[in-house]
């Protein structure tokens, strides 16, 4: 009965959503530990090591602390908007995972417009940040929100341009089809579209608000930016959403540029996860290596470098595809 139910498209989607949510919860714990250990490694200190063997239980302790804390709504804040923001931040992530092909079979929903779905729903993140900043009735929050808008609107353009280059090349927005086209390391899109990969990765760092582009929450200038007023799990959900978006952008990068689940010996899903977490590790190294950029620098990188380069890359791709035909 259950097997039959799982075989229907609806049952498959529901099962995939449940699996995704479980994965996201676990992933939050793993990435908190990973981030603190990477940070410790770069700053020549051991990182967490008191709780459990090698500090492995530290994220569990952190999570329990966050869950146990009191939820405070600041005075004069719009309570509805204030508490809506974390949910708008986290809810679309689960949908973003649906079209990602973790393995030949481990795909939540094999759909033709999968890439578009991810781009559409990850755009909601900016909305949640401005809502949080506005709703908390705090000037740091408001400044963080204003920065988040300018940043995410600007960096969505080069992100789309680099993704479109791959779509032009493959002729499809279906992530499974794009992965199917890359068999063997030499046919990975990374080697055909290196510029698009660089543009994509920089824009993705900015879209997920990771340092060096973490201006909406710059702690040295804005206390904590848009989530200054959030306590306990209000902050926890924002944190979980940020880590989940990191996985989304890295998974899309893996599927578009690194051959997805393509790899020898082991089953595809392990290769996919290995590539995703390798990219996540690079993002973490970025965070602890580069100092935060200034706001004018941030926008100059986007408008003066990434967008013209992305456009040129797109035109070149279209020309080559026309000639090859």
């Amino acid at each position: 009965m259950i097997i039959e139910l799982l075989a229907t498209p609806l049952g498959h989607t529901v099962a995939a959503l449940v699996a995704i949510l479980a994965f996201l919860g676990l992933n939050g714990l793993v990435m908190v530990y990973m981030e603190r250990k990477v940070c410790g490694f770069i700053q020549l200190r051991p990182g967490p090591f008191e709780v459990g063997p090698r500090g492995l239980l530290q994220p569990v302790a952190d999570a329990l602390k966050l869950v146990g804390k009191q939820l405070v709504t600041p005075q004069g804040a719009d309570a509805l908007l204030f508490w809506l923001a974390p949910f708008i931040s986290f809810a679309p992530v689960a949908i973003c995972f649906l079209p990602i092909p973790f393995g030949p079979i481990a795909t939540g929903m094999n759909m033709n417009l999968g890439l578009l779905l991810i781009l559409a729903f990850s755009g909601l993140n900016a909305l949640s940040l401005v809502l949080a900043g506005w709703g908390s009735n705090n000037k740091y929050g408001l400044l963080g929100a204003a920065r988040a808008v300018a940043q995410s609107v600007a960096y969505e353009v080069p992100l789309l341009l680099s993704v479109l280059a791959i779509a032009f090349q493959v002729g499809s927005l279906n992530l499974s089809t794009i992965v199917e086209g890359q068999k063997g390391i030499l046919s990975w899109n990374l080697f055909y579209q290196p510029l698009a990969f660089v543009i994509y990765f920089i824009s993705a760092t900015a879209e997920t608000n990771r340092a060096p582009f973490d201006l909406p929450e710059a702690e040295s200038e804005l206390t904590a930016g848009f989530h200054t007023e959030y306590s306990g799990m209000g902050f926890g959900i924002f944190f979980l959403a940020e880590y989940s978006y990191m996985i989304v952008v890295c998974a899309v990068a893996t599927a578009l540029f690194l051959g997805g689940y393509d790899g020898p010996f082991a089953p595809g899903i392990w290769w996919f996860l290995a590539k995703v977490f390798f990219l996540v590790l690079i993002l973490m190294f970025f965070r602890w290596t580069f100092p935060r950029v200034r706001f004018d620098q941030l926008l100059n990188i986007c408008w003066k470098w990434l967008i013209p380069l992305g456009l040129a890359n797109l035109i070149a791709t279209a020309l080559v595809m026309k000639l090859v035909q």
């Binding site: 729903f121 909305l127 401005v130 809502l131 506005w134 929100a145 609107v153």
Partner: protein
């Protein structure tokens, strides 16, 4: 999945999206806070995207979310933030008196077309239309650059003019300082 079940689910989906659109519209009209009104607008846009999905047009649905929810509404938010008045929003006290009247007008505005449509539907019940096959992206592109090329190019001219205008305005502001 059985045909009958699919039909039932379609009705449920239609009702849900209709509810979203109406609730969003009401929230947009009734709330005194501009940001809450914007949230209502966004809810309505989501409902419309759902309707597109129900009509087997996922491309339009995702574009609706990508452009209207992801970009346009965020820009509206930006405009609200830039024009924020420190003490509440314009005439918050007077609004309370207006709410009753506005609610009545809103219900009337929503009900009038609904009543007309309902009478029409009850008198001449049309057979449920068969679901149209999904228009692929390639077909859409061919249509835009084939039969509808004039409209397509006109829209791009309008966008180009808007972009050029924005750049010119930006340069003038800089000279002013």
């Amino acid at each position: 999945m059985g045909e009958a079940l699919q039909q039932q689910l379609a009705y449920v989906g239609y009702g849900l999206y209709l509810l979203l659109i109406l609730a969003g519209g009401l929230a947009a009209v009734m709330s005194t806070s501009l940001v809450r009104a914007l949230m209502g607008l966004i809810l309505t846009l989501f409902g419309v995207a759902g309707m597109f999905l129900l009509m087997n047009a996922p491309f339009l649905a995702f574009m609706q979310i990508l452009i209207y929810v992801g970009a346009v509404s965020v820009l509206i938010f930006f405009a609200i933030m830039l024009t924020k008045t420190p003490e509440g929003e314009a005439g918050a006290e007077n609004m309370l008196e207006w709410i009753g009247l506005r609610a009545g007008l809103a219900v009337l505005a929503a009900l009038t077309p609904a009543i007309i449509m309902a009478t029409l539907i009850v008198k001449k019940a049309p057979a449920a239309l068969a679901l149209k096959p999904e228009v692929t992206l390639a077909q859409l592109g061919e249509f835009l650059t084939g039969p509808f090329v004039l409209a397509f190019e006109l829209i791009s001219v309008v966008l180009l003019a808007a972009m050029a205008g924005a750049v010119v305005l930006g340069f003038e502001r800089r000279k002013g300082k």
